[in-house]
């Protein structure tokens, strides 16, 4: 077991994995940008020329259009439209590791002490151990993960449909969001609109490729949302809150479109 744990994904050499992953998503500039501590307000949206006055006005307009795009996407969202599924042979191996930090900085969560915290507009606020969650009925999906950067990869995820869990804990499904908090360094969080949370393919994921979710892909629990871009698929989840408040998100606050549906 000790050896297994030293491998981020059982059976996959870490160096090779990183090498493959870098090939798939060579966004180094993004990481540089993030480490520079950027926020939307600090962005020079009009590059190449110094138009400070105009750029803040432009940002204001862009922010408004992004909000408008949230509404358009919510309108376009069909709760019955399923993300295309693929045969197992289409799965990308190895599936890329992706985060705003290096793979060595991925959270190491102890599955024995970890508990999923449940908060907000729910009848039963009890915390759930991993053992308890593993008892819930699970389904598998082979779907395409699409990153906001443009690359995509097909993976296999197994877990409990989020809507079944929300029902189980007596969540108020007329609330606007389910807000997730994660164990990633610097904190990671992301709001998920309720209609997407109730989508049949939105899943509390415990397995990747039929194996317990490896550390690289979000152990112990990831929220798989095949109708959203990758950054709206939080990993290393530690709590979920059912709420009517828009609480923002790690990437959403920096300017990524909040709905980011696919």
């Amino acid at each position: 077991m000790g050896r297994m744990r030293s491998l981020l994904i059982p059976g996959v050499d870490k160096k090779l994995l990183v090498k493959d992953a870098v090939k798939l998503m060579p966004e180094l500039t993004r990481r540089r940008f993030i480490s520079g501590g950027a926020s939307l307000g600090a962005l020079t949206l009009l590059t190449g020329c110094d138009v400070i006055d105009n750029s803040s006005a432009a940002e204001e307009v862009l922010r408004k259009v992004s909000k408008f795009n949230d509404a358009v996407q919510a309108w376009m969202f069909n709760p019955d439209a399923l993300a295309p599924t693929f045969p197992e042979s289409a799965i990308n191996k190895p599936f890329p590791f992706n985060a705003y930090y290096e793979i060595d900085d991925a959270p190491e969560v102890d599955g024995k002490t970890w508990k999923l915290e449940v908060r907000g507009l729910v009848d039963n606020k009890k915390s759930w151990t991993l053992e308890e969650l593993y008892q819930l009925p699970q389904v598998k999906q082979v779907t395409r993960h699409i990153c906001v950067e443009g690359w995509s990869a097909i993976g296999s995820w197994t877990g409990t449909p989020l809507r079944d869990f929300l029902k189980l804990i007596g969540a108020d499904t007329s609330a606007k969001y389910v807000w997730f908090q994660c164990a990633d360094k610097e904190g990671y969080n992301s709001p998920l609109d309720m209609r997407t949370a109730l989508h049949p393919q939105t899943q509390m994921t415990f397995k990747f490729a039929d194996e317990i979710l490896p550390r690289a892909y979000g152990f112990p629990m990831k929220i798989r949302v095949p109708t959203k871009l990758g950054f709206k698929n939080p990993k290393y989840v530690i709590s979920m809150e059912v709420t009517n408040d828009y609480k923002g998100g790690y990437w959403e606050d920096q300017g990524y479109n909040s709905f980011s549906g696919s």
């Binding site: 798939l24 998503m25 060579p26 966004e27 500039t29 993004r30 940008f33 950027a38 939307l40 962005l43 020079t44 949206l45 009009l46 590059t47 190449g48 307009v61 862009l62 922010r63 259009v65 992004s66 795009n69 376009m76 969202f77 069909n78 439209a81 399923l82 993300a83 295309p84 395409r144 699409i146 990153c147 906001v148 950067e149 443009g150 690359w151 995509s152 095949p226 109708t227 990437w251 920096q254 300017g255 990524y256 479109n257 549906g261 696919s262």
Partner: protein
Amino acid sequence: MSSLTVSDQHVTPATGKVIQPAWVRAMHWTNAFAMVLMIMSGWQIYNASPLFDFRFSHAITLGGWLGGALLWHFAAMWLLMVNGLVYLIVGLATGRFRKKLLPITPTGVISDVKAALTFKLAHDDLTKYNYVQKLLYAGIIVVGVVIVLSGLSIWKPVQLYWLSALFGGYEIARYVHFICMSLIVAFLIVHVALALLVPKSLRAMIIGR
């Protein structure tokens, strides 16, 4: 009117007929503005995960980083799509496309390409497009439609899965989107160069005459 266009020397009548109607000019420049925003922000988005072994220089991209570029791209797309859609509707409804761009015959294209390459292509009457112009203008409209459709397939591969499937899936749609961008940029280079070589055509697109 034909008397005004008999020779190369007197091609632009001071008080002649309108070469480019106001709606064409308005939509042309709106499209030009939106297209430049789309291309420059698109290059920045491309840089986040390049399809080929190169990146666009930061000096010619828009948005500063991926998030900023996406905001620009998904804002300018409305201008591009609404303007383009109205242009298509009016162009078809008024018969302008049919009158201006058709027919396009292979022999006509070949002889006009030859003439163009030897700088013998006449521009006597700017209201009538030669076969090279017809082909390029009709072609770029088709490319414009395909770039919007492939863009929608990348943006909404689940909600518009049928459109995405039409392109052979999400990944292929990305390449189609990129190729269309390349064609538009190539068109743009030729288009701007020729407009500068034949300034009266640029003037017609600005003041109409």
